[in-house]
């Protein structure tokens, strides 16, 4: 299994701050998905990135796929308490998705 490593594992910041979380692999992948999981719920897809160097924006969230397609980042600007959750990245492999362990993000009011 080719692992996806997410960092940091845990992040707690104040409302209004900016943050970046990372998803890295030792191998190239064709696409990467980012999900957010709120407490007590299942993960929900945020975005899929497919092209090296691609940048996608979703309101205050900016997703970037590395040029070499081995890494991706999620940047949140002016974090809000509603951004609290577990952020998971996942890549396709054969007939399943390979998942990172996630970054648990807490935004304090």
């Amino acid at each position: 299994t080719q692992l996806l490593e997410q960092s940091p594992q845990f992040l707690s910041i104040q409302e209004g701050e900016n943050l970046t979380v990372y998803c890295n692999s030792s191998s190239v992948f064709s696409s990467l998905q980012w999900y957010r999981q709120e407490p007590g719920e299942g993960p929900v897809l945020l975005v899929t990135v497919v092209t090296g160097g691609e940048v996608k924006k979703l309101k205050r969230l900016t997703f970037q796929f590395g040029d070499a397609r081995k890494d991706s980042s999620l940047h949140i600007t002016a974090a809000q308490p509603g951004d609290t959750g577990l952020y998971l990245c996942a890549r396709g492999s054969n007939y399943q998705l390979i998942w990172g362990a996630g970054t648990k993000l807490i935004i304090k009011p």
Partner: protein, 113 residues
């Protein structure tokens, strides 16, 4: 609004009991998955199914079995529940396994005492 529905949000079962977790999707997806999620370990695949009556083992199938008699329904069975099966169980479906995004149910938090 597409939906994956799991039969229970919370379950408490005794050691040795046979446990059934049910999952239903309304998107006509052929592919369905069962994961367990534990802190720090991420999502681990237990079983998946790419068609009715078809099933494939995932990474951690021991102690579990599955049933897919209808396209929309995928059941996870704990033959004899043990305390180390206490976990959050997530069901998902997708149009293309590994190639498109997954829709998840709300999860079932199972506690085995």
């Amino acid at each position: 609004d597409v939906k994956v529905t799991q039969s229970s949000r919370y379950l408490v079962k005794r050691t040795g009991e046979k446990v059934f977790l049910e999952c239903v999707q309304d998107m006509d997806h052929e592919n369905m998955f069962w994961y367990r999620q534990d802190p720090g370990l991420g999502l681990r695949l237990i079983y998946f199914s790419y068609d009715v009556k078809m099933k494939e083992k995932g990474d951690i199938p021991e102690g579990y079995s599955v049933s897919r008699e209808k396209k929309e329904r995928f059941s996870l069975i704990l033959e004899s529940a043990s305390t180390n099966q206490t976990s959050m169980y997530l069901c998902a479906s997708s149009l293309i396994p590994g190639g498109s995004y997954y829709y998840f149910g709300q999860g079932t938090r199972l506690t085995v005492v």
